[in-house]
Symmetry: C2
Subunit: 358 residues, 2 copies
């Protein structure tokens, strides 16, 4: 059956091609009726965490926690890692959300701003007050700006006492991370993993757990069922505090296995090739232009394109050909299109986009 | 195809029979690729909220918020409705969790205890310090004790300034509630709605929103993305703050429609009939006995049975016949079985349980 539509939206996006098959397997094997303390569930948790660690080269000392969304990850990171001071690199809507989360949780959050569509002048940013937590949005889904991971590792080196948290919501699993050179990262599954929304994955090291422990000792609330101590206590048994989205955890394990079998380096190479096709095309287009002007800042997985007052027409033209493109974000909603470039997006469909818009 | 297993576990439990079909519909119509600000998503939200309100006779002035679990509902209720003082009726593990949630969020929680398997002597409980929130577990999933809703309404009448929150996790949609006589109720979908886990539903009135507003004005943190003000601001537009479990919201709408078409009063009658069959059977059984001795306290939807040292043998016997029964909870894990009695559980399968255990 030929699919009528292919979603190039930043996420929720095109589903991983085998998702339907995996869901059928899950239904056939009664996974949705399992108790989250059962050995069958524990085996699913273990398998998914292992496959994810294998795929993304996550060290054994890292914890894998299953939450409900990337937004929840931000909430829990602040709750568990900050008594008073957090610092945020803000260059778009999702970085801003992380910053606002800290404010809403009554923390003293401070920030460095960069313009929408730009990265930071890292050499000239000094971070005062030794923040307990430093947050950086490695791939800003609203603007299509990616931060070189090397810059994140430098921050970690400069502020060794701080916890460094990276939002990799729309860059995982493409982005290659040396997890020993940061402390915490998170994503949700409806982006680069091509799954239905409803699961956030939080990866963190012992430093984050220790910090939560310390806050608790100081009588600072670290939250209830999803505080890091409760999550960790359960995760070491391959369990969760509450009944989680078991189906999503199962599906993530299946997709990670499939991606891993295909080969992560191959996926990375293909992602770069597809990104090059798109950026080259738009760099040479008559009126459609990449929004991120500085080539080194361009995300390989979220590609923002300036379409001005022809945005609607362009999206419609793509839609008429079965390609669903995302709109811009916030004030660029009507003037930009956003194209995701995830493992599900085939080179031939990327080529098709360039054919349609030629 | 004859199903090999039927889950009578308290939840996750047997799936609603049409779930597979509904998931296929969802996949066919690309629901898992929808943006949560799109008109298509808003229509799904609206439909599900409407169907739920119709099914459970929830007044128009009630808000329907989609969270990730019933456990999260407890967390958010405390965060948004308590500056300092909450009170909890505790007669089992889930009531205890609500109480502990308040303590973990650094509130002054107090409680009245009842023995496991018993209800409360409501006439002799006085609640001091005018708590901002009074929590009651209408149907205690760990013990199989149900509280008569009339008792909840009396509490509301006696403490008109408090917010009254009821845990109806394993009684919805069976339990008939006059929502004007409490302020807040919540459940998760993997129980009486027969859906995959990963969605909690929080129902509340304006009083809860006003309270959250007041706390915020007093500079008390009410949480970040899932504070009631943010949830409400989005819900009035049929949206959510973050990308939610869209598939689960869709499925819940389909199940509510189906249950509603079948007739809620018919479901209630059938539930009572099936409960009677089971309780009568166990009341007259040689060695298996209902755990809740006082008949007026017995839950119609969660039936705890004392099996002593033959629990394992009984569960195995049922399993050999394709019936998966739950174990007891906590210290009763090895000595009790728990049987759910939800709309998916057919009278003939309930009869079969009695045949097998005769």
């Amino acid at each position: 059956m030929k699919k009528e539509k292919i979603f190039f939206t930043p996420g929720p996006t095109e589903l991983y091609p085998e998702v339907r098959k995996y869901i059928e397997e899950a239904l056939d094997s009664n996974i949705c009726s399992l108790n989250h303390r059962s050995s069958e569930f524990m085996e699913i948790f273990r398998h998914t965490a292992d496959m994810l660690k294998k795929l993304m080269n996550i060290p054994d000392n890292y914890k894998v926690f299953f939450l409900s969304s990337a937004t929840e990850c931000m909430d829990r990171i602040v709750q568990n890692c900050v008594e008073s001071q957090s610092f945020h690199f803000v260059n778009g809507a999702f970085a801003e959300r992380f910053y606002r989360t800290a404010l809403e949780l009554n923390k003293n959050a401070s920030k460095a701003d960069a313009d929408f569509g730009k990265s930071f002048d890292f050499g000239n940013i000094s971070i005062d007050n030794s923040p307990e937590l430093i947050c950086i949005t490695q791939n800003e889904t609203s603007t299509g700006v990616a931060i070189d991971t090397g810059e994140i590792y430098k921050i970690k080196k400069s502020y060794p006492d701080s916890i460094i948290a990276a939002d990799i919501v729309t860059s995982a699993p493409f982005v290659e991370i040396d997890f020993d050179r940061l402390d915490c990262a998170f994503f949700s599954v409806q982006k680069g993993f091509g799954l239905p929304a409803g699961l956030g994955v939080l990866l963190l090291n012992q430093k984050c757990i220790d910090k939560a422990e310390q806050l608790k000792k100081n009588n600072i609330s670290i939250g209830s069922y999803h505080n890091f101590l409760s999550l960790n206590e359960n995760a070491v048994k391959y369990q969760t505090t509450e009944t989680p989205n078991v189906l999503a955890i199962y599906l993530l394990g299946r997709v990670c296995k499939s991606l891993s079998d295909y080969g992560i380096q191959r996926i990375r190479k293909e992602t770069e090739d597809k990104a090059k096709v798109l950026y080259d095309f738009f760099d040479n287009h008559e009126f459609l232009k990449p929004f991120v002007s500085d080539k080194k800042d361009r995300s390989k997985t979220i590609i923002n394109v300036e379409a001005g007052n022809r945005q609607n027409e362009i999206r419609k033209k793509l839609a008429d050909n079965g390609i669903i493109a995302g709109s811009g974000y916030g004030k660029y909603k009507e003037s930009q299109i956003r194209l995701a470039n995830f493992p599900m997006h085939k080179p031939e469909d990327v080529m098709r986009i360039t054919e349609i818009l030629k």
